[in-house]
Amino acid sequence: MSRLRSGLETQGKVIKALMLRELVTRFGRENIGFLWMMAEPMLFAGLVGLLWTFIKGPEEHGIGIVAFVVSGYIPLTFLRNTFSRCVSVFIANGSLMYHRQVKLIDLVFVRVLIEFIGTTMAWLFMGTLLSAVGLFPVPHDVGMALLGWGIYFLFVVSVAFIIAPLSEMSEIIEKLLPVTVYLAIPFSGTFNLASWLTPAARDVALWSPMVNAMEMIRYGIFGNAVRPYYSVTVPLIISAICLIVGLALCSRVRKTMVVE
């Protein structure tokens, strides 16, 4: 028990040190650094929201279109950026394997966590800004939105644990990843609510952890303007399966990893 605790304490220290190190390497010390992380999702969500306003009008199914696009696009940028940053994470950080307390899963976890924090900040900032001009509602149920966001995070972490070791085993992963993420967009709940789908399509869509999470997030934000369909157990079970597979792959890659 005490060994487990000191092990966890060490991992906590390692993760903190890795995060600070990653922030310095990625953003340097002298510019606005971390704030850049917020810029990309905000620009994307803002401009796509604007585009949709011109194409489809200011509302869809009774929900403000800018708020709808922003609420979907920001999680999607988190997913996409995280997955692409997990490719070749082990090669780039091989020299850290010189320090035994640093584990492969720490490297992946830190990358995901940094994206998660950046995206959450972008979301808060964007939401505040848009609600100041009346384009974003005051969240109906913050707890529900956070629960959904947490489930989204869990799923992305679990899949990241699979992508990182697979990209080490085969270069094809790196080539296939962008198109796979693109094809997954219809199953991500980014641009549609489950209630807009036919019952048959909805049953399929609700196998996707992202759709369940997005339903919870959207209900948390828009309240009774939307009719949510979600399950908590389905995304948790799928994430747990991905996590087990991912951890097994990581430990396999570690065994054969060549460090310069």
């Binding site: 220290k13 040190a17 190190r21 390497t25 010189y98 320090h99 640093v102 460090v259 310069e260």
Partner: protein, 211 residues
Amino acid sequence: MIACEHIHKAYKKKTVLHDVNFSIHPGQRVGLLGRNGAGKSTLIKLVGGVEMPTSGRVVRQMSCSWPLGFGGGFQGSLTGYDNARFIARIYNRDYADLRAFVEDFSELGQQLRMPVKTYSSGMRARLAFALSLAIEFDCYLIDEVIMVGDQNFQRKSQAEFFEKRKERALLFASHGPEFIRQFCNRAIILHGGVATMYDNVDEALAVYDVL
């Protein structure tokens, strides 16, 4: 104690180490002899936990440094100070103390503010030695580089490793016999994927000489 138990290491199909068994106890300074490509660096990486054995295991019952050499263990794009800060954090040491020791021992001066990728191999080795000495391990793993730098730095490293830290253990890879004769009290010969431990350094060097 650090023990290697039935270590086997293969890269793809190529076997580098067959069945390596030995143990290092506190105070033992073990020279690791072997021709180029005999697997000295591989063995040091396995003992340090940088790479994993294909089968067998390494038991560490004392703290053990990362393999000290020309490369490895640093992030090239970060400065010497940033690397020191990172190492202080993960090894749970006070950064101010560590920094003071590194500045004094490495004599790198302003260079510590530069990215490590701009360092010469000798400068990297100085930084690595300074950091690992500041952390105080029970066993040091050294890959080839103990005698880098100028005379002054050599004397300093020797004093720190062989006089002030006499009771520590050491695994020191080299194909130069002089340092092993001078500083080690036993030796391992790595040949054909098998390690043989000799309690007598002169005997080991004699055997190594005719390999």
